[in-house]
Amino acid sequence: MEWLPLPNKTNKTTPIVLLPKPTSTPLKPDTWQKSNITKNWLFKFGPLLVLGLVVLVWGLSLPAINPRHMDDLGLLRIFPLSIYAALAVLLISFGFMVYRLETHPSILMLYVIVLIFIIHGTPTLVYGTLRYSWAWKHIGIIDYIERFGTVDPNINVLNAYHNWPGFFTLNAFITQAAGLEDPLRIAMWAPVFFNLIDLGALLLIFTSFTKDKTLIWLAIFIYYLTSWVGQDYYSPQALNYFLHLVILGVALRWARLAVPPSPRKLKRWFRFNWVAIVIYKFLRRSNRGQLLTTDSPPLNRLTIVTIVILLGGTIASSHQITPFMTIMALAALVIFQRIKERSLPIIMIVLTFGWLMFGATAFMRHEVTEIITSFGQITENVDSNLRDTSEASPGQQLVSKMGRGLTLLTWGLAFLGGGRRFRWGYWDLSIALLAVAPFMILAGNSYGGEAIFRVYLFSLPFMAFFVAALLRPHPRLSASFLTFMITILICGTLLTGFLFAYFGKEQQYYFTPQEVEAGAFLQNIAKPNSLLIEGSRNYPSRFHNYEYFTYVAISREPDDSLMNVVNQPIKTLSRWMDNPDYTAAYLIITRSQKMEVDSLGEMPLGSLDKIEQALTRSPQFQVIFENQDAKIFTLADQIDNIKP
């Protein structure tokens, strides 16, 4: 293992020269973990026994969870205490194991895998249906590709997906090649899958920064305790996030610049010599503590460029925002002389703008004005990302505050961690750049009110590294009992915030089998060119024949129109549905729609219930489908328009 020299706190005058770090420096055993007890077999097999116990308790707890009993705190109140106990044992045990020098990395990896399964596998196993309304819409795009064998960039509904179709064509291909009727099973397990493969990408990145096993696995564990924004579901974002991390990992591991350019070379770029010298000294200094070699052999330039072209091309054709994140990250690394392969950001720019000009022309024609208008309006773009929660239920207000609190806490701890590493002599310039680069996206576009969450997501691996560095700034720093206790305290606090932020909205994200049945019924009986009126968009919809219909969500109507529906549902809705432009019109109201509008305060409390009751009583409307969680109406005089 080779390192650049690193001063300790007392020796800050260490000369800045490239020297191999003494490899024979023994790492001090942690004083509070006596070496004699490690000989005990319990310490060898203990971690696996604890993991087995955690998995057993978790598995036995699952049947006790009834998602129908969720309230506006989502899964939090219906989780049995045993699940919290299992998570606590997992956390404490991990905290203990991660500081033990004898712990094999595979044990730590097993801990992280169990954490992933508990967090992301629980909803899948408990619900039995696909969560998130957007995941259902993604199924609809795949359904379209399976039926037509192509995409339609000019389509009216969800046209962005047809202009960036990579994720959908891939999944349509996998579904048909695997002989599946639909990708529902794949979609249900997607959060577990994406988090598992992200683990490999995080390892690729973190092992490029340090060889300290404790720091690496602590950072990975903290990453999963803070990744609350829910972008790991069956979506283009989840897939492209993984590819983005792999590109950064490849660049950091195999294309890094160990020695900065000489002052003579830098002088070509700067007018004043002293600027070049200052920059040279800065770059030279920022290389201290940087890991020079990894276990893997070097890759040649052609291999690195080929990987980036393949993965970058996939990203550019699959997602709108990720390519820009990759460009900014790679550009930051090149500008600050972190990587030697200066062509990488240029390749990404060519691929991204090439796709915008030739692949997504239909979308860009319509949206270019909006994109140009919002460019540079940082304040407006940030504001549009923060939902006004004043109308939300008390539970949802708490969930929202916990999400924001967790975000600020993570960033705050990361700042302190970066500071502590700096005091120990590490400049960690690459990590700092990658943590900050995603914030640049706020200058570009609000991305439908989601940009701030994407910023958090893309900066998170590097923020998590700094949070871990707060606890473990240096490999030769032995872990005291106090360090262990602080680790448990910080991880416990992060986990608490995470549970609120991640599971607190599950009441809206969960769909009962009855709601799925209603959604499928509507899509099968409605004739092409029908008008589908929805209480809100939060229900299983648009997953089959989605392009046949026009969708109107009552909760998305302007205030005047919305209040007309609430106050005079019969008159307003019969007028909407009696529109001769459409073959037929249907209205669907479901349990999850009510949960969403009531808990987020999108409509006056109980509005959808009142509308449903009024329509049920009215002779102008006919109920064509009904179960305990959903009702579908049509106009009584349109009853013949139902497709047999």
């Binding site: 996998i174 002989g179 490999g200 897939l239 052999p297 393949l310």
Partner: protein
């Protein structure tokens, strides 16, 4: 390292199995799991093996990323080119994977021969 030597064999066996089940149209959960696993790992692994990485997790991660990249580009070409034929797409991945694995086996054999020859020379 043991797994690294076995990857070419795993790729060839799974490619043959996936191809057989797909083209005889066997409907089974095993087919689905095997095919998904094949598409997500094997095409990339057939290429990653040439990098001779020593870290299995990193190797697997790169293999998955490359497999996703290859399969996405392939499926996009089929969809945008209006030549949507998943069977042919799967066949292309099978050929790529088996081809990569065979080259890998040949390279390993050549290396083994060189090692044996150098041993004989050093013994002499």
């Amino acid at each position: 390292m043991i797994l690294a030597k076995k990857w070419p064999l795993i790729i060839i066996v799974s490619a043959v199995l996936v191809g057989f089940m797909a083209y005889t149209n066997i409907e089974s959960p095993i087919r689905s799991i095997l095919t998904i696993g094949f598409i997500l790992i094997c095409p990339g692994m057939a290429l990653v093996q040439f990098m001779r990485l020593k870290e299995p997790i990193i190797e697997l991660t790169l293999a998955i990323a490359l497999s996703i990249g290859i399969s996405t580009v392939l499926s996009e070409v089929m969809a945008l080119g209006k030549i949507w034929t998943p069977e042919i797409g799967l066949a292309a991945l099978i050929i790529l994977s088996i081809g990569g694995a065979i080259v890998q086996i040949v390279q390993m054999n050549n290396q083994q021969t060189l090692v044996n020859e150098s041993k004989i020379h050093s013994d002499k």
